[in-house]
Amino acid sequence: MEKKQWFLKGMRDGVPIGLGYFAVAFTLGIASRKAGMTAFEASLMSACMLASAGQFAGIGMIASGAGCVEMVVTEVVVNLRYLLMSSALSQKVQQERPFYHRLLMAYGVTDEIFGISMATEGKLYPEYMYGAATVAAPGWVLGTCLGALVGMILPPSVMSALNVALYGMFMAVVIPPSKKNRIIAGVVACSMAASMVFTRIPGLNRVSSGFQMIVLTVLLAGIAAWLFPVNEEKGEKKDAA
């Protein structure tokens, strides 16, 4: 019963993700079409990987006929942030559940699904991620397919508005805990400030956004962990309050 409820909750929370994905995936479909891929190939790609930056990089490499080694290295670098997210999820997920859940969950480790999964109270039910992925992935694949077939079918004003859907969700994940916990509020504010500084400094702003995120996350989460180690029992209770 509990598992089913988590699945349904995941589906509910997956709706804005699916909408945001739908909009973002159009551009992906259009790009893959330009690179000479068919709508089927583009959709298959999206269904296999749910990885926007990784897919854009991949489309470029397919178009230029890149070799296997180049593909592996590029995809590892572009998707390195998932290594951090997957590590955090490995500690959040219910420890007692069978191993295959971890293999299935890995498919759904995207920025957005990761965000909402870490925001759940207590230990994470894998079913929650499955529910979210069940709604979000079709949005991603369908958007890609339509983008490849007919290009932009939504008016630019709607596309522009939908672009903030995913960011809005990130805020819904980080702001509520900031209200209850001043340390988290400080971490969030410092992260945004540091990210702003990064994009303004000449030289540093040429670093890709994915790599920027990794550097800043390792640095800032490391500093926060050093200055404000989390006291498990208290930390959990504070979150739940």
Binding site: M85, S90, L103, V109, Y167, M169
Partner: protein, 101 residues
Amino acid sequence: MRPNIYASLLVMFLTIYAVRALPLTLLRKEIQSPFIRSFLYYVPYVSLSVMTFPAILSATASFWSGLAGFAAAVILAWVDGNLFRVSIGACIVVYLVELFV
């Protein structure tokens, strides 16, 4: 390049899946180190914040609608916190700002 496209997709799929699956499958026990536990505790807050700002300011048709969307998201998340309402609310604010400004 044609015949290789499925091979390319397979290589990419396996690489990306491996990056996502390795920590989840290898780190099966609870990590004991308080530092690493704390580090992982802060990872989502830092990573999601870094990804949002300032990227959101250039995600929409204009800087001002992006800023309005960001402000709306933060305020809605503060007073409400529901994922769906925050997300859609921010979209609506961006749409309205671009309509009128």
